[in-house]
Symmetry: C2
Subunit: 337 residues, 2 copies
Amino acid sequence: MAATLHDVALLAGVSIKTVSNVVNDYPHIRPETRARVEAAIAELGYQPNPSARSLRSGRTGLIGLAVPELSLSSYFAELADRMIAAAEQRGLTVLIEQTGGDRQRELDVLRSARRKMTDGLLFSALGMQQDDAELLRQPYPLVLLGERIFGGPTDHVTMHNVEAARTATEHLLRLGRRRIAVVGAHVGEVIGSAGLRLRGYREALEAAGEPYREELIGYAEPWHRADGAEVTRRLIATGEPFDGLFAFNDNLAFGAMRALQEAHIAIPEQVAVLGFDNLDDAAYSVPSLSTVDPGLPEIVETSISLLVERIAGRGPDEPQELMAGYRIVERESTPAR
Amino acid sequence: MAATLHDVALLAGVSIKTVSNVVNDYPHIRPETRARVEAAIAELGYQPNPSARSLRSGRTGLIGLAVPELSLSSYFAELADRMIAAAEQRGLTVLIEQTGGDRQRELDVLRSARRKMTDGLLFSALGMQQDDAELLRQPYPLVLLGERIFGGPTDHVTMHNVEAARTATEHLLRLGRRRIAVVGAHVGEVIGSAGLRLRGYREALEAAGEPYREELIGYAEPWHRADGAEVTRRLIATGEPFDGLFAFNDNLAFGAMRALQEAHIAIPEQVAVLGFDNLDDAAYSVPSLSTVDPGLPEIVETSISLLVERIAGRGPDEPQELMAGYRIVERESTPAR
DNA sequence: TTGAAAGCGCTAACAT
DNA sequence: ATGTTAGCGCTTTCAA
């Protein structure tokens, strides 16, 4: 039914190889030959068969993007959106896989049959742990995203979590807030977004000579709005006073602001709130959310570039670890200085 | 490098065909033969090569999902999330393509080279219009989503937009609101979410004997939070009083609530707000958002089922049009009755 | 119940 | 600058 290289070659009166050369922009072709082939291609509406091409070349032009979920965590929707666009610019197509942030499903993705149809994988892990680092050693190009595993066998794109969290906390301290609640800590976690951000928080308190108060630490997993609201309601219910709140992502912050307002606590007058992610929504919440911008465009560009290099077989022998920059975005949920 | 059917056959001492039969769950195989083959598969870690399989069979196991964008419109992120999960249950993989809601990019998706690597397409159009219906006639299975085109040549999954908008408006009227602003109308649109929802709004006003006031109609395109906020600021600035607000989607409603609160207008006391989509976030905004639930799970299941049937070559000759149910979800942005 | 052979459409290696 | 050939790994058809 659909035209093949053979049909085009027949119509253009050239060999199949010449048509292939035209289709693949091989440089040394006589202009008139090229024109004749292109006319035949247009006449037959020829489109290359990607399966045949992949079978022969070993490349599919597809790259996998494993994320916990597209809804509920807007961060990953924004990540996917930008990743698809950035891949398209390089002639690549993104295949999204959802793991639910579940360790087993993450491991499944690593060895799934889909790995035979993608040239490489961008892997945003949430359930795997530092102990699992060696499981990232796979026979295909893999770029790790996030902060669950460091020093692993693959390229890795992450950000300065500790420093960013320290800066965020310092920001609240500089605004005169002394009792700063946390929303989104994970029990016992050292490595991982929660563990690292909590460390930054502690470092800032220590540097300022403020005590670390366990009673102000709100534990939440996962990091959805509902969790932020629930944890904050509990913090409020303890009666422990606080005048600042650092949520480990924007979703948690939205939920937290919801809980504060239910309790008629004024933001930022009574409690200043700072989030993390700078989601598109952060500018439109009530009040708008001050937050840490993790440099998503940089993360996306860097990770795709690394993957493309690895797919091409280039790049240094050692795994690369690259960190995106960050900055604090001030909005209404923290008072103007 | 990677094991092939041939390697497995050699190791198991059977023919390549027998291995293929085992892999594809062909029923008539002697249990001991099957066991031997399965042992060989396990020993070699054999995984089928999807390109070879597709080249031969003509199927890829991939289906396209074209949406305007994954970020900024959470509705499409939720749609994609559920679609990926529903496809997975059927052994299919979803390939997401973003069109930006732009007509030209939508047309590009219809004829893109990617259509040769998907078995069918779920197509959520926003930029195309009723006039473009015939362009949906394509040589592959296609299921149209949304309300830009009706009576086209393909299966179509949509919802009762007019009725839902009428019910929503009636709900506000029943709450005693008489001057109900609209956020999200499109100039001159008849078919399409905006056009149909505006019609439902008008029908409800007429039935209640209320005048249709052009000065209460807020035009917004696209339907992001920023647009909802901007349009509502303008409506407020006109000084035209209103005590209800119907936003044509939840994102617009979030933006609208933001603008109302900037102007110190109390929700729902002074203005009752009703959205459309029932996004996950709607329960966690401040105030939480009353909205129309468009039955996303039903939309997802229906459209995937239709597509799977068409891919299998089944289904009636005539294109099917299926409508999901809807219901009003009452939250804090409208007063309790 | 299993095997043999053909060929899907393309690219890479080599030849001219 | 263009042609010839082989073969990627699989499923399908036909045969046994």
